[in-house]
Symmetry: C2
Subunit: 136 residues, 2 copies
């Protein structure tokens, strides 16, 4: 497992430091995490961890496409490991975020949008209530 992260980090031109491995593992386990959540989790492993290290790593990992930022309506951004294109479900009650396999790119290819823009990417965020919050 950790071996995979070491290789993956290096493939993205990132040195495999313990802090970066911990970020990778945390995102892998939790799916989506805010800066704060990451810090809270990692500080338990590295008692001298600096928030600046989190910020610096988040930035360089985004630049090198190792992770991606997801902007959530009415909430803080979260970060996730880069994977195949997908969309997000957000629970307005408990904040749960899930991936969902919606890739609109092929659809837009079949049904071109009326615009002069040359579209490269699409970001879709669906919000509502998760199964738990619907029943409580």
């Amino acid at each position: 497992m950790m071996q995979d992260f070491i290789h993956s980090l290096r493939e993205h031109n990132l040195k495999a430091t313990p802090q970066r491995l911990a970020i990778s593992a945390a995102l892998y386990q939790n799916g989506h995490m805010s800066i704060d959540a990451l810090y809270e989790e990692l500080i338990r492993k590295f008692d001298s961890l600096s928030l600046a290290t989190i910020y610096k790593n988040i930035h360089i990992m985004i630049e090198n496409s190792f992770i991606q930022e997801v902007k959530i309506p009415h909430a803080k951004s979260v970060y996730e490991l880069t994977k195949e294109s997908h969309s997000h479900l957000v629970c307005n009650s408990c904040g749960l975020i899930e991936d969902i396999a919606v890739d609109l790119a092929p659809y837009f290819k079949q049904h071109p949008l009326k615009t002069t823009f040359k579209i490269e990417k699409s970001e879709l965020v669906l919000s509502g209530f998760c199964s738990h919050c619907q029943n409580s």
Copy 2:
């Protein structure tokens, strides 16, 4: 025109102050503006305008559904007057933002979502290059 904004503000339980009218007019003219852009534009009319006033108004206007925040990938949030549901096009080169009417219903008919979430809203942001930036 200003009359319309006065009525619209009041319908949203907002007193029609000169500052709020100016925010309304600026958003109407420019479509989408960041906090900074709004401040830069309004300070020309109100030499003693406070940034705090912008922030306070943006918040209460969002709460009262008079405006909405749009989170843009890799950029600051912008704000727009509330109107019928629509999506956004963002130019990765010049930052231009345009509204676009995208109806995802046919897509979801073909590809029903597999989720236990009860979905209430969707936010779609398409990014790429506007016609001008494609040719330069």
